[in-house]
């Protein structure tokens, strides 16, 4: 699923590890989402949305 997570992360000045720490997931999970190897669960998508104060649809491209 295409997403803007890497853009938002770099704008915030965070490394993947720092973002992972803030979200309570592994750095590998962050890398997998950014490289579209993993579609986040609804829970994780909402946590990302809350952290960056953006709507889920503004971060993840709706594929449907």
């Amino acid at each position: 699923m295409k997403n803007r997570l890497r853009v938002l992360r770099t704008e915030a000045g965070w490394t993947q590890a720092e973002l992972a720490e803030r979200l309570g997931v592994s750095r590998q999970a962050i890398n997998a989402v950014e490289t579209e190897k993993h579609d986040p669960s609804l829970d994780l998508a909402f946590r990302i949305s809350a952290l960056f104060k953006r709507r889920v649809e503004d971060i993840f491209e709706n594929p449907h």
Partner: protein
């Protein structure tokens, strides 16, 4: 063994898994070392031999428990990756074992001890792990 584990926190899932794996695998290897050293020779062919079998089985079950704990304590991505690797390795091992079993029966293939299934499974797990990167 899985290397893709959650980032560090107090007793990270990866660290817990590593400690448990070292414990169960070391004990499993010790059983083999004891067997090779002849410590079980006096119970060969006797009902007491089942005690050795039960011990080995408990250690295998312990490692499976450690893997399930890793999955329970890890994030969604690591959980899926470990599960996929486990299924692929189990499937490949079962396919190989089935083929060899039929080979023993119908093609005069030499007999392989059943307990080899376990180390071969983890060997195949190590081979497939680098190629499992997506949760899809």
């Amino acid at each position: 063994m899985p290397t893709h584990v959650a980032s560090a926190r107090a007793t990270s899932p990866g660290r817990s898994y590593a400690v448990r794996t070292v414990a169960f695998m070391s004990a499993y290897v010790l059983v083999h070392v004891a067997a090779i050293a002849g410590l079980f020779d006096s119970i060969l062919g006797k009902p007491a031999g089942w005690a050795v079998a039960a011990l080995a089985a408990l250690l295998v079950a312990g490692q499976i428990w450690a893997t399930l704990r890793l999955m329970a304590q890890s994030d969604e991505y690591v959980r899926v990756i470990v599960a996929k690797c486990f299924i692929l390795a189990a499937g490949a091992t079962m396919a190989l074992w089935t083929a060899w079993g039929f080979g023993e029966t119908y093609a005069a293939a030499p007999h392989i001890p059943g307990w080899l299934f376990y180390p071969i499974f983890w060997g195949i797990y190590a081979l497939v792990s680098p190629f499992v990167r997506t949760s899809n």
